[in-house]
């Protein structure tokens, strides 16, 4: 019995953290938000650590670790607001392809860092005015929006019927339009298809949910990391900033804001661990847990993002300190793959409520 990280997992966490501290400075994040290039560089480096193929079996060139291990990595990435295709390329697409035993070639390429996936799940989660896909068993037509990682080589597309398809970004009739979003560390966009060839990966709704659960838990873990960093920054800033001849950390109001942040955030750590573990190991709880974990982390993350900014006073509002990168990352995670109200409604219906 050991609820928490194993020794290996602690080592993994430490090494990813060290790597990111070294390689993904805020300056690098800023650079990425100006021109997306550094992203590929970061991704290549992550892949040399084996993170691109974290869920891909060793025989296909991956590291064959568990979803819980991936959760740990996602938390580290969130902590450093790392621009990366981890969610799409290292988690959701591999879960889909492994579960349906498809396209080992792409898995191998992904593990090596030579191939990136993007995600188009909005049609399955909630279709928008002006969007809609039609797949005739062969080719795909229509438009889907809020696609994550628009610069991918291949897109994993979920239809309204919750079928999963693969579409090559360079296939006939595929058009991409970037849709600027609030979180500049992520590239979001719209995809249109005109008789574009698409490969069916799965018609099994369980596979769809397995992929979605994994994605949701990773977003929750990303928020955990990002919120933890904001809290740490707030405590550190309060310990240095002086007003009224005292560090502001000695004011009860500031102390209590920080106490409320940690009191809300600390239990989230165990929740994210369990949700990551449950993905493969406690399958009958995985879906409800994933819904609740992402919803709860979204709420706590929003509270921490706002409160940590307030502790920083005016400085928290500036680009100088750059706190807003975390603020916006948490905001993005909140909406992507299901916002809190939708997730709670889903959790209720899964429990026949």
């Amino acid at each position: 019995m050991d609820f928490g990280l194993s020794e290996e997992q602690t080592l993994l966490q430490d090494s990813v953290n060290r790597f990111l501290a070294d390689q993904v400075s805020l300056d690098k994040v800023r650079l990425f938000t100006k021109n997306g290039d550094t992203d590929k560089q970061i991704w290549t480096s992550l892949c040399t650590l084996g993170l691109g193929g974290i869920l891909i079996p060793e025989e296909l060139g991956g590291t064959g670790l568990s979803p819980m291990d991936a959760t740990i990595v996602a938390e580290c990435l969130g902590y450093r607001v790392t621009p990366s295709s981890f969610l799409s390329t290292a988690v959701m697409a591999p879960v889909a392809l492994i579960a349906s035993s498809k396209r080992e070639d792409l898995l191998s390429a992904s593990a090596e860092g030579n191939h990136q996936f993007g995600l188009a799940f909005s049609e399955a989660i909630g279709s928008r005015d002006g969007s809609g896909l039609n797949w005739d068993g062969n080719v795909l037509d229509g438009t889907t929006v809020f696609v994550q990682d628009l610069n991918a080589d291949t897109f994993l597309v979920a239809t309204k019927e919750k079928h999963l398809l693969l579409v090559d970004a360079k296939a006939t009739g595929v058009e991409k339009v970037e849709v600027p979003n609030i979180d500049q560390t992520r590239v979001m966009g719209a995809l249109s298809f005109k008789r574009s060839p698409a490969e069916l990966i799965s018609e099994n709704i369980d596979v769809y949910h397995q992929v979605l659960d994994a994605g949701r838990v990773m977003l929750a873990a990303d928020t955990l990391g990002a919120a933890q960093n904001m809290l740490n920054q707030a405590v550190a800033y309060a310990g240095q900033r002086e007003q009224f001849d005292r560090v502001i950390a000695s004011f009860q109001a500031v102390k209590h804001m920080c106490a409320e942040m940690v009191a809300n955030l600390e239990p989230c750590r165990a929740m994210v661990w369990y949700a990551g573990h449950a993905l493969n190991e406690v399958k009958d709880e995985a879906r409800v847990t994933a819904c609740h974990t992402k919803a709860h982390l979204s709420e706590v993350g929003q509270f921490v993002a706002k409160t940590a900014t307030e502790v920083h006073g005016g400085m928290g509002f500036t680009d100088l300190v750059g706190l807003h990168y975390w603020f916006k990352r948490i905001g993005y995670n909140r909406q992507m793959l299901g916002s809190p109200e939708l997730l709670r409604e889903e959790a209720a219906s899964l429990q026949d409520m």
Partner: protein, 398 residues
């Protein structure tokens, strides 16, 4: 993450289950603390190591070596079978560990066995009307006159004082020392002349607590734990233990399940409460918070087992757990609407009125055992390393 139990622990669980199956009819449901049934049950549990498990045999315990998981298994299985576990008053929960750590051999011999057996019931004399959050400012005095202490003053929040045989009590013995250094930890009989206990009715309508008054109460000199002036340290040896039990997420989970049952069965205008989306959303929010605290609790247990640090996880339990519980009870009342107002026997009362009762009782717990404000001070200082409130002179504070 390894959620499995070892073969030894699985076997132990089976043993507990078998015990419960065989003996559960002996359990003293609704029996008084003084009843023979209660004491016999306690004796049976000690004999099998299902309570007082790690306390040495020589003092009346079972004498097993510490095994947190076995402790957890016992708690889980008793809860599942809905059978009351061992006695858990303040004597057992707080005084016994204190004596084991700081008592003289004579004190251990004298007090631990009868306390464990349920013969000797204790109450705690810490808080005073003027010393709540600032407990160290307590004023109840004990003056050494010959071979006895002479105790004068007043305590409040002394639960079970009206039935207790003994009290463990913080008193000021060195009035000239700095406030934390002038306190001593005394033990004395509640039937000593000069003690008056007045029930303190609270907002729930029950007298869950008392006020206790001392007038020239004579206490033999040797009934002190630790040295003179060390009482603050003695009391703090175990104060943390008390806090941990407030806001226990496993109790909250049972309560959540009761709430779900209620919301599924109760209807308004023919519609079940759970099918009203605004209530359902609130229910789901609470379920998410319960989940987070339950996993946090598993992490704490596991950290103890595996000697990892989970001090932050532990520090926030009381604050988060009591607020969550209060919110949970509030949802039940809101969802029931007018029916949620019922309190006291009627055909329309649900679950024995426990929703209103617990709603208030947990507001009491948000305040008691260190108010939320004090909790936040502690979390920011001990958990986040933030500076203490600067000390202010009494005469500059206006």
């Amino acid at each position: 993450m390894d959620l499995s139990y070892s073969a030894e622990h699985e076997a132990f669980r089976q043993q507990v289950i078998a015990f419960l199956k065989k003996h559960k009819t002996l359990a003293p449901v609704g029996a008084g603390l003084r009843s023979a049934k209660t004491r016999d049950w306690q004796a049976l549990l000690i004999e099998h190591g299902y309570t007082a498990r790690t306390i040495p045999r020589e003092y009346g315990g079972f004498g097993a070596k510490p095994d947190l998981l076995k402790g957890r298994i016992i708690a889980e299985e008793f809860a599942r079978a809905q059978v009351p576990g061992g006695l858990s008053g303040q004597g057992i929960a707080m005084l016994v560990p204190t004596l084991l750590e700081l008592g003289t051999e004579e004190q251990k011999q004298q007090f631990i066995r009868p306390t464990l057996s349920g013969e000797m019931i204790w109450c705690q004399g810490y808080s005073e009307p003027g010393a709540g959050s600032d407990l160290a400012s307590l004023k109840t005095s004990a003056v050494l006159e010959g071979e006895n202490w002479l105790v004068n003053g007043q305590k409040i929040w002394t639960s079970t004082a009206q039935i207790a045989d003994w009290i463990f009590c913080l008193v000021r013995t060195e009035p000239d020392a700095p406030k934390h250094k002038g306190i001593s930890f005394l033990l004395f009989r509640m039937d000593t002349p000069g003690i008056e206990v007045r029930p303190l009715v609270d907002m729930t309508g029950l007298a869950n607590f008392n006020e206790t008054f001392f007038t020239d109460v004579v206490v033999p000199k040797n009934q002190i734990v630790g040295f003179r002036g060390e009482g603050w340290r003695v009391a703090n040896t175990i104060l943390g233990n008390e806090r941990d039990s407030l806001g226990n997420p496993n109790a909250t989970l049972s309560r959540l399940n009761a709430l779900i049952r209620l919301m599924k069965s109760e209807t308004v205008g023919g519609i079940s409460l759970i099918s009203m989306p605004a209530y359902r959303d609130r229910l789901m929010k609470i379920q998410g918070r319960v989940m987070a605290l339950r996993f946090n609790d598993m992490r704490i247990l596991s950290a103890k087992l595996n000697r990892k640090d989970a001090s932050l996880a532990r520090l926030i339990v009381k604050l988060q757990g009591t607020e969550l519980r209060h919110d949970l009870e509030a949802l039940a009342i809101d969802a029931m609407g007018e029916a949620g107002l019922c309190f006291g026997e009627s055909d329309y009362l649900r679950d024995g009125g426990s929703w209103q009762y617990q709603y208030m009782y947990f507001l009491g717990l948000i305040i008691g055992g260190g108010t939320s404000q004090i909790q936040k001070n502690i979390i920011s200082e001990r958990g986040l390393g933030m500076p203490r409130e600067p000390r202010v002179n009494a005469n500059t504070a206006t």
